[in-house]
């Protein structure tokens, strides 16, 4: 039960469902029946069996919600309606006490993804509006996206969604208030705060282990921690001489480790149980950003350093690349080719530009390119153009398109193959400091908080920080090629 179930810190799927009776709760069955712990007793198989009927029942609910999903249908109302069916609610919240679920065994199962707000169907964008009724003039949420509850008290430095191995979607955010928070994101868009861990310094990066049982956090306190969600314990797993800027979990066939990049100009590889690193690689400069998709890792450093590593057998430097950008590196994201192999990366700079760079392109001069982004009034020559930093890049896991977020408080979606912009958001009143997609690309999360781009003088601690969720299924579809 333990390995594949939802970690304790995230709570049982069933109990989480209570918060939102109208919508799917445990329609995401564990990937496969799992070995049971002795303590779980003989009831567990039953609970597994009961899954099937539950998801079937969902199908009916979906139909219902569809018939009502006129553009601005308040979500709350849906919930109210759903509460009128207490029996189902009770059934849903009893993942661990399966004796109670008895009925609804005869409804045929349906494609589960389609019944949710974050499913492939459209209509989520409009649904979000009514959820919060924020029709006021302030433009903290001009895109009318879903707001994550209890967002951190200080700037949000990093976001990460749970891997596909975990049923449901869990969002982790690290902030400058030294904390790491975890929410469950339900398919309705509702977010439920689940757990929190503290560092003694701001948290600069987070990542998940491949099985979703652990979260790794990198902090300004020069350490990295492993947060075991089963026990809700965090232990230190890494130590640097300077703040740790990046952290990635590497799962290779023959080893697994945590890669940390720090401002002490080293890249270290840690087994989570040893206080000594398995390997230390020197970087030419401070590590500013990194990304990893096995078997490739790319690290961008200060003074425009750019190094690609290969991770097969063991991590080793593959190539140093002369930076395609002329300003400070700020964010990097690896993208994959059609065969789902990492093939290149997108690098964002502090001065409004993103470079698309392939590792082994057939025609380097043509295939690699840079494009401008996060700049104001692009073509108007009379006024000077405002240039902002690119704070984050994320690739859509399905479509291969990408999203960039910037200090200008906008996010943009791009199709790198067609070399076109798909969408640019309205301007938020604060910079967008981080972004990410969930594992199936249905949710785009972005954090609106001050990114320090104008120095401390412009920092307003009173300003609230937000994390928004947006349905990304449609908007990131690449343009049809003609």
């Amino acid at each position: 039960m333990r390995t594949h179930d939802v970690p304790t810190a995230l709570g049982a799927v069933s109990s989480a469902g209570v918060g939102d009776p109208g919508l799917p709760a445990f329609l995401f069955a564990p990937p496969r029946p799992c070995p049971l712990r002795a303590g779980a007793g003989s009831q567990a198989p039953e609970s597994l069996r009961s899954l099937q009927p539950a998801s079937r029942r969902r199908a009916t609910l979906r139909c219902w919600s569809h018939s009502h999903s006129a553009p601005a249908r308040p979500c709350a109302e849906r919930q109210v309606c759903a509460r009128q069916e207490p029996r189902q609610v009770s059934a849903r919240c009893s993942w661990h006490s399966p004796g109670k679920e008895v009925d609804c065994k005869d409804i045929p199962g349906r494609d589960r993804a389609k019944m949710s707000l974050f499913g492939t169907t459209s209509g989520f964008g409009t649904g979000g509006t009514s959820m919060f009724g924020s029709t006021t003039t302030d433009n903290h949420n001009p895109m009318k996206d879903i707001e994550v509850t209890s967002s951190p008290d200080d700037s949000i430095g990093c976001l990460s969604f749970s891997p596909p191995t975990l049923p449901g979607n869990f969002l982790i955010a690290g902030s400058w208030a030294n904390d790491v928070r975890c929410w469950e994101v339900q398919d309705s868009g509702q977010t439920i705060p689940k757990a929190q861990q503290m560092h003694t310094g701001p948290v600069l990066d987070v990542c998940w282990s491949d099985d979703g049982s652990k979260v790794f956090t990198a902090s300004c306190d020069k350490t990295a921690k492993m947060w075991d969600l089963n026990s809700n314990q965090a232990i230190q797993i890494a130590q640097h001489d300077a703040p740790v800027k990046t952290i990635h979990w590497i799962k290779a066939p023959n080893y697994s480790c945590v890669m940390t990049g720090s401002w002490d100009k080293t890249l270290k590889f840690w087994d989570t149980r040893s206080s000594n690193p398995m390997m230390v690689l020197q970087l030419p400069e401070r590590c500013y950003c990194a990304d990893m998709i096995y078997p490739m890792a790319v690290v961008a450093t200060a003074e425009r350093g750019l190094i690609v590593y290969q991770l097969e057998n063991q991590p080793s430097e593959f190539r140093r690349i002369e930076s395609p950008l002329k300003h400070q590196h700020r964010c990097v994201a690896i993208f994959k080719d059609k065969q789902n192999k990492p093939t290149g990366f997108a690098l964002g700079s502090i001065e409004g530009r993103v470079a698309i760079h392939y590792i082994n392109p057939p025609n380097p001069a043509k295939d690699n390119f840079t494009f401008k982004c996060h700049r104001s009034n692009g073509t108007n020559t009379s006024a000077p153009q405002d240039i902002y930093a690119v704070n984050g890049i994320a690739f859509h896991p399905v479509h291969g398109t990408l999203a960039t977020v910037g200090s200008d408080g906008r996010f943009s979606f791009w199709d790198k193959d067609a070399r076109t912009k798909l969408k640019t958001s309205e301007q938020l009143d604060q910079p967008i400091s981080a972004c990410c997609f969930n594992h199936n690309g249905n949710i785009f999360a972005y954090a609106s908080s001050y990114d320090w781009s104008k120095g401390h003088e412009f920092y307003n601690p009173q300003k609230k920080n937000y994390i928004f969720l947006r349905n990304a299924a449609e908007e990131l579809k690449p343009r049809n090629k003609k």
Binding site: A9, P193, G201, N254, Q314, K326, D386, S407, K454
Partner: protein, 1056 residues
């Protein structure tokens, strides 16, 4: 000494050996820095240099004072001194450039000699320093500084343009540049040099003319080979009149075409126009500076092409058109022909593979092209003609030589704030400390007065009490002035130092910015609240599990939790959460090195990873599986996942129960996970009380800082104990020790728990202490009440002590005790039936008869003697740790006088055989209870702690209050009058002996006392004793208590 001198000579060698690597500096170099720099190893040097550099960099960015030049000045000087070889590594040119850029707008620095020196250094690095001088002159920078004119003139002099040099001097004098004297003297020297030189030339000429027997003739074909590769120029050799003419002008004419002139406009050189005015000079000199060159980091800019193609109006290949407003009119109307090839940068042919030899790599053309000065100027003008505006704090990002990211800037601010707060904190503490010291001094004076009066009246017993009372009052007074978080003690005391650290850490924590603003705390969604609302009975496990844990954490205040988890980064620099690996056989090779030292050997890395991730340590030792490496190798085949899981549970024994499905706002680590929490269980509260109590007036009133200087690890620290236990793998082999790989079962009254293979019914929660609780339980098929001790300790310390005690004393133990170690605590089951703690006895103090007192004290003496023989100090002999076995149920073992007492708790015990680093008595529980007693001040051996413990208990039994002693000049005596007691003589002897044991072996003291006490036991004594015990058993025995309880509950049930 010899070594030192050798070192010195070596240092000297360093300098001798690398003279050629040191660039000369005008102001000289500090030899110590130089030698330091040269002698240091490459890596070590790099780290320190980088660190210092980084400090400068951040200082530049976060400088808040009103003299930014100062930082730059220091930074540049530091760079000069620490990079004697100069070169690219030092980044000197970039640094100067940035400095000049940053300070350019600051008019107040224009006549600051430091600013000038900055410029002069920049001038040395650039190709055309004369341009720089004229630029400075034009801008009005440093025009009132003598040094400016001196350097400028020097530059001209070096180019043999004496006339200009002289003009410069004259202008300086005219402008009354300061210090004028220096300028004038320099001018005079210059003139002297020039005259001497011209005279020499003239003399030479005369000589030549005198010698001139042969008139110089042009030699045919001599030296007519062209010189220079690209632009061939034949050497000129003239004779006759032509020679004369050129010689006359030699001194006053610049032989090289002056670059600035050729750049500005095409002027035909006119030998006769020597009287070019100063005004003209400055005017023409400025011109090249008007046009800014391309800024370095501009994107998508057209590359500069051949300048004469298509852009006839531009006179410089890399000029921007933007501000070439005034110049065009002065351009010549013709386009000079330039060969295509002439402009191509010449590349050094490179045949060496650059990847092999980094030193001889090809020079990249055009990268560092362009003069520093031009860039500086361009920076100034860039802002005016920018087409785009950068919306981030670029000046901060690129302030120094390097760049900073937003996060780095922010982290720096964060770090600074933290540091400031900490310093402020320390300052306050220091102030308070000083204040306290004053008070202490005052009190010391008073005390002395009191003591003198005391000595005067030494004879009088009645008046003797007065002064002691007064001292007591003083103590109280001083205690009330105690500031929390601060301790003043005269002994090196690990606990105190810990307390100080933790309190400091707490303070820092509290002020960290996360708690700012009126922001709502992160409230974690409570599923159970909701489910309860809906009348759905929640799954039984999770909430109970919480409830079960709570009682044990009763005394863990939120403060203690805070201090546990939020130790400031400095405090917890070392690894805390990670279990050190001690399986040396496996890890030796990897322990202190990077696991994969050889980057070529790829399987090495993977193997290393497997080694480390294979579960082997904790679970093996605890579960009594022999840890052999071969077995581990086999385990490599295991599914990674399962092994990982196993590992997480066993490597972190302290992980909280897995069955807890419910989340609470999180206690980050369990107490055992971090270092500072190591003082076990309730440490924090204990510490805080002790730190408050610490302010007593000791014999020597001194404030020592030793406690801070040696932060000794507390011997009671769980971490420490765990380590100790780890080295004793045979522990787990004991039949009485059971490791349960699960959380502790929940304990509820009238519920059953399973211990080993037996079920026990919990009857009553009997005693709640800070660290543990006692329950009365009955086995399933019996009514016998036995005791279990439940603690949240994850280190089976009680068991360890008991085991060692048995091992070392070679005595058969007459009772049984089993230990059950869980993931989050420990349960010890004691076989004793119908027993109770001394605490109960004290609650019924009327039952404590003389006989019982004697019995208890006698037993204490024997028990402690046994402990001390085994080199164990109990440290906490208090009523709650001692079980009194009611012998009323076993009246025939009266000869076993020495088995009336048993110890249930060893939390504060120290095994001096294993814990060799315990030297002081501070930190023991007994000491904390007796805090303030002067007698403690002159004790040194930890063993004495137990003597005081016994004395204190005896005192409690006799007088119902804690020990109070005084020094009567020769001996420590009780403040209470013993003589009135029954057997007063015996007790008097007892206390005098036990309090004045000083350095004697405690074992012998205890034996002696026990023997003495044994004399009291006689038949009448026994009959009295039995009577008393019977009474005790009837009234406060567990059966009696339970019975009372039952009756009460039944009574209360009736009305309902």
């Amino acid at each position: 000494m010899k070594e030192k001198s050798e070192a010195m000579s070596l240092e000297g060698d360093e300098w001798e050996l690398s003279k050629e690597n040191v660039q000369p500096l005008r102001q000289g170099r500090s030899i110590s820095t130089l030698q330091g720099v040269l002698a240091q190893q490459e890596s070590a040097r790099n780290t320190t240099l980088q660190q210092q550099k980084r400090e400068f960099e951040s200082e530049i960015r976060f400088y808040t004072g009103n003299d930014p030049l100062d930082v730059w000045d220091r930074y540049i000087n530091w760079t000069e001194q620490n990079y004697p070889q100069g070169g690219k590594e030092s980044n000197m040119s970039t640094l100067l450039e940035r400095a000049v850029e940053a300070l350019q707008g600051e008019k107040r620095y224009y006549n600051d000699p430091r600013f000038l020196s900055l410029w002069l250094k920049l001038g040395h690095l650039c190709n055309e320093p004369l341009d720089m001088y004229s630029y400075l002159h034009n801008q009005g920078i440093a025009v009132s500084l003598a040094q400016f004119y001196i350097s400028w003139a020097e530059e001209y002099e070096a180019r043999e343009n004496f006339k200009k040099a002289d003009m410069i001097f004259q202008e300086g004098i005219q402008r009354k540049a300061t210090p004028l004297e220096r300028l004038q003297s320099q001018h005079r020297q210059f003139q002297a040099r020039v005259t001497r030189q011209t005279l020499l030339v003239l003399e030479k000429e005369e000589e030549e003319e005198d010698l001139g027997s042969s008139v110089p003739q042009r030699s045919t074909l001599a030296e007519l080979k062209s010189k220079g590769k690209k632009t061939a120029r034949a050497p000129i050799s003239r004779i006759g009149g032509a020679l004369k003419a050129s010689n006359q002008n030699r001194g006053l004419q610049n032989p090289l075409p002056q670059p600035m002139q050729s750049n500005s406009r095409i002027t035909v050189f006119d030998e006769n126009a020597d009287e070019a005015s100063i005004a003209e000079l400055s005017k023409s000199a400025v011109q090249p500076w008007i046009a800014p060159p391309v800024s370095r980091a501009k994107e998508n800019e057209l590359q500069a092409g051949p300048w004469n193609v298509g852009r006839p109006l531009e006179y410089r290949p890399h000029d921007n058109t933007a501000s070439v407003t005034a110049v065009p009119s002065m351009l010549p109307s013709f386009t000079p022909y330039v060969e295509e090839t002439a402009q191509q940068p010449v590349m050094t042919p490179c045949k060496i593979e650059p990847s092999i030899n980094h030193i001889l790599s090809t020079r990249k053309p055009g990268k560092e092209e362009g003069d520093l000065l031009q860039r500086v100027q361009s920076h100034q003008q860039a802002s005016e003609e920018k087409k785009d505006k950068v919306m981030y704090c670029k000046e901060k990002i690129y302030a120094g030589v390097g760049e900073f990211s937003f996060e780095e800037i922010r982290a720096e601010v964060f770090r600074k704030k933290l540091k400031e707060k900490r310093e402020a904190e320390l300052l306050i503490i220091a102030e308070k400390k000083a204040e306290m010291q004053k008070q202490i001094e005052e009190m010391e004076k008073k005390l002395k007065e009191i003591q003198t009066t005391q000595q005067e009246r030494a004879g009088d017993q009645q008046e003797e009490k007065m002064p002691t009372k007064e001292t007591a009052e003083l103590q109280i007074a001083s205690e009330s002035q105690e500031i929390p978080g601060m301790t003043v003690s005269n002994s090196v005391c690990p606990v105190n130092s810990c307390a100080r650290e933790t309190s400091l850490a707490e303070n820092i924590w509290q002020e960290q910015p996360h708690s700012k603003g009126p922001s709502v705390p992160f409230s974690i969604f409570d599923e159970f609240l909701l489910s309860e609302k809906k009348n759905i009975s929640p799954p039984t496990d999770p909430p109970r599990a919480l409830v079960q844990r709570k009682p044990l954490a009763v005394l863990k205040t939120s403060d203690s939790i805070n201090s546990n988890e939020d130790v400031s980064p400095d405090v917890c620099d070392e690894f805390t959460g990670i279990e050190p690996l001690s399986e040396d056989a496996i890890i030796t090779g990897f322990r202190n090195v990077t696991i994969c030292p050889n980057p070529e050997d790829s399987c090495d890395f993977a193997r290393a990873a497997r080694f480390v991730s294979t579960p082997f340590h904790e679970i093996i030792s605890l579960k009594d599986i022999p840890s052999d490496p071969e077995r581990l190798l086999q385990e490599e085949d295991l599914d990674v996942k399962t092994s990982e899981d196993q590992q997480t549970t066993c490597a972190t024994i302290y992980s909280s129960p897995l069955s807890i499905k419910k989340l609470s706002p999180i206690i980050e680590d369990s107490g055992e996970a971090t270092h500072s929490s190591g003082l076990s269980g309730s440490s924090a509260s204990v510490i805080s009380t002790s730190s408050i109590k610490c302010l007593h007036i000791p014999e020597k009133l001194e404030l020592t800082n030793e406690a801070i200087e040696n932060p000794i690890q507390s011997p009671w620290c769980a971490q420490y104990r765990r380590l100790l236990l780890k080295s004793q793998p045979e522990l787990s082999a004991s039949a009485e020790f059971f490791v349960e790989d699960r959380p502790m079962p929940k304990l509820e009254i009238e519920k059953e728990i399973e211990l080993g293979n037996e079920d026990y019914c919990i009857k009553q929660e009997y005693l709640i202490c800070e660290d543990y609780k006692l329950f009365w339980v009955t086995p399933r098929n019996s009514a016998e009440l036995t005791i279990i001790k439940v603690s949240s300790q994850t280190v089976p310390w009680d068991f360890y002590i008991n085991l060692k005690l048995k091992e070392r004393s070679d005595e058969e133990c007459d009772y049984l005790c089993s230990y059950y170690q869980y993931q989050d605590g420990c349960i010890a089951w004691h076989q004793y039936t119908n027993c109770f703690t001394l605490q109960d006895l004290f609650q019924h103090s009327e039952l404590i008869t003389h006989e019982i007192t004697v019995l208890i004290v006698y037993n204490l003496l024997t028990i402690v003697e046994k402990l001390h023989k085994a080199e164990i100090v109990h440290g906490d002999l208090s009523p709650s740790t001692l079980l009194f076995r009611n012998r009323i149920y076993d009246p025939y073992d009266c000869d076993k006088n020495n088995q009336a007492l048993n110890i249930v708790d060893f939390s504060y015990s120290v095994d001096l055989r294993a814990q060799l680093d315990v030297f002081t008595i501070s930190g023991f529980r007994t000491v904390q209870i007796l805090e303030g007693q002067k007698i403690l001040a002159n004790c040194s051996s930890p063993y004495q702690v137990d003597l005081f413990g016994i004395a204190d208990l005896a005192h409690l039994l006799l007088f119902k209050e804690h020990l109070q002693v005084f020094w009567d000049g020769s001996l420590w005596k009780l403040s209470q009058n013993i003589s009135e007691l029954k057997d007063g003589e015996l007790w008097n002897k007892f206390f005098v002996r036990i309090l004045n044991a000083s350095d004697e072996s405690t074992v012998s003291v205890l034996r002696e006392l026990a023997a003495e006490m044994n004399g009291v036991f006689d038949t009448t004594f026994y009959s009295h004793l039995n009577k008393a015990l019977w009474k005790v058993g009837k009234l406060i025995g567990p059966g009696a208590l339970l019975f009372q309880q039952d009756r009460q509950s039944s009574l209360s049930q009736v009305p309902a």
